[in-house]
């Protein structure tokens, strides 16, 4: 038994049952046991390697799924943001302008309808004026009838003075006075009726004026409200667009982080290979131990075999217990 085997057994707390077998020709039960143990090491390493690879593969798949979903979400959000930012009527500003234009058109139609009503109201105002003029005419007629009455009285006096010759004229004067009285009565009747008509028309005119005022206020308020609604719509769309842009930025940052995490998962390939090399070496040691305790040259061969199995420079450095160099190579060789 060489010193390596002895040290190994001692470390495990076992005693070699054949201490006299220094020349290694006797197959030791301890060597057999150690062979079993190397088999356990190899299986445990293999299980750890499989478990690690399987788990990392699953994690990589999950992260790749997240990366794909993020990419889709970013694309959809970017499309929505582009649609809102688009030029012409399709863009956000265009849509708001179209809404504003349509509302202005509606306001124009309302104002036109109100203007038609106002023209009607204007005719009512003109009717008030006509009635006033009619009233003035009636008043003139009354004044004329008063003057005619005075004239007939004077004519009657002059007829009386004329005596016999004026009797016929007196009859005419009486008749004129009677007609003047009748005319005055009719003009008063007209004035009374005109006053009633004037009151009705004036009431209508006052109501029309009140309606005009109310229409002006309503139109002004509607214009202000609609303008406010369009402005709020524009503001809301602007906020949605800004949020979309923020979401894109956040999504891109998350996607980059996920991609970086995926890149880091490359460690598993290296770990797996390293474990595999150790596993194979343990299995080779087990095979040797099944035959007997290894000779120094066999241990050297195992050592050389392990060294030659390495694929990564760092495996060799660790094996030789060398310090890690500053690695400034870019890992790419073009042929």
């Amino acid at each position: 038994m060489d010193s390596l085997a002895r040290r190994t057994l001692h470390a495990l707390g076992w005693q070699d049952e054949a201490p006299g077998s220094e020349d290694g020709h006797v197959t030791s039960p301890a060597a057999q046991q150690l062979s079993v143990l190397t088999g356990i090491w190899a299986r445990q390493i293999d299980a750890a390697r499989s478990h690690g690879s399987g788990s990392v593969d699953k994690l990589t798949g999950l992260f790749a799924g997240i990366e794909r979903q993020l990419a889709e979400a970013i694309e959809m959000t970017e499309q929505a943001a582009k649609a809102m930012q688009g030029s012409g009527d399709s863009g956000m500003a265009g849509a708001v302008d179209v809404a504003r234009e349509r509302l202005q058109h509606v306001m124009g139609m309302i104002e036109s309808a109100v203007a038609s009503n106002h023209a009607l109201f204007e005719q009512v105002t003109q009717a008030v004026q006509a009635v006033r003029e009619l009233n003035e005419t009636a008043q003139s007629v009354e004044k004329i009838s008063q003057m005619t009455t005075l004239l007939s009285i004077n004519a009657r006096i002059e007829a009386a003075r004329a005596g016999e010759a004026g009797q016929g004229f007196a009859v005419v004067a009486d008749e004129v006075r009677r007609l003047a009285a009748q005319s005055r009565q009719e003009s008063q009747t007209i004035m009374a009726r005109v006053a009633r008509i004037e009151a009705v028309i004036q009431g209508t005119s006052d109501a029309a004026e009140a309606l005009k005022q109310r229409d002006r206020e309503l139109i002004e308020r509607s214009r202000s409200d609609m303008s406010g609604i369009v402005d709020e719509l524009g503001d809301s769309m602007q906020r949605v667009m800004e949020t979309s842009v923020s979401l894109c930025d956040i999504g891109q940052a998350a996607r980059m982080s996920v991609t970086e995490a995926l890149i880091q998962f490359q460690f598993q390939d290296r770990v797996s290979q390293r474990l595999h090399h150790v596993q194979l070496s343990a299995e080779r040691l087990g095979e040797v131990l099944q035959r007997d305790w290894p000779q120094a040259q066999q241990v050297d061969a195992l050592n050389a075999n392990l060294l030659s199995s390495y694929t990564m420079p760092e495996e060799g450095r660790i094996h030789r217990n060398e310090a890690e160099p500053d690695d400034d190579s870019d890992g790419l060789v073009m042929f």
Binding site: L262, F265, Q266, R270, T311, M312, G331, V333
Partner: protein, 122 residues
């Protein structure tokens, strides 16, 4: 039409990572788990570049490379080896068998993409 790249690696996580980097740069990606699977995937299909691991169960990367270069229809496809294998002897074999580049893992995506851009068929 986007260029297509075949990734041959027994590690699905490596295939995933390489695939994400390539798809993100606009390449179409095919995957194979070893050399034999890679040859099946190439049957009747044109790709613009092959990226292959070296140490794989089944058909390893250097054997796969030899098979590619033996094929009249596939031999002009550029091949880049992507491996943990950094030994000069293996690299020399790869070069002799017709590999166009040798990149050791872990790779940096931007560096791999720059190499892909140089190698990919027009």
């Amino acid at each position: 039409m986007s260029k297509s790249v075949l990734i041959v690696d027994d590690s699905s996580s490596v295939r995933t990572v390489v695939g994400i980097a390539l798809r993100g740069a606009g390449y179409e990606v095919l995957e194979a788990s070893d050399g034999a699977d890679g040859l099946r995937k190439l049957d009747g299909r044109k790709v613009h570049l092959i990226i292959s691991d070296v140490n794989m169960p089944g058909m390893d990367g250097l054997t796969f490379l030899k098979e590619i270069k033996k094929s009249a229809t596939l031999k002009f496809i550029p091949v880049m080896m992507l491996t943990t294998e950094a030994g000069a002897d293996k690299m020399a074999v790869g070069k002799a068998e017709g590999a166009r580049a040798w990149m050791t893992k872990p790779f940096k995506p931007e560096q791999m993409l720059a190499a892909v851009q140089k190698l990919v068929l027009p």
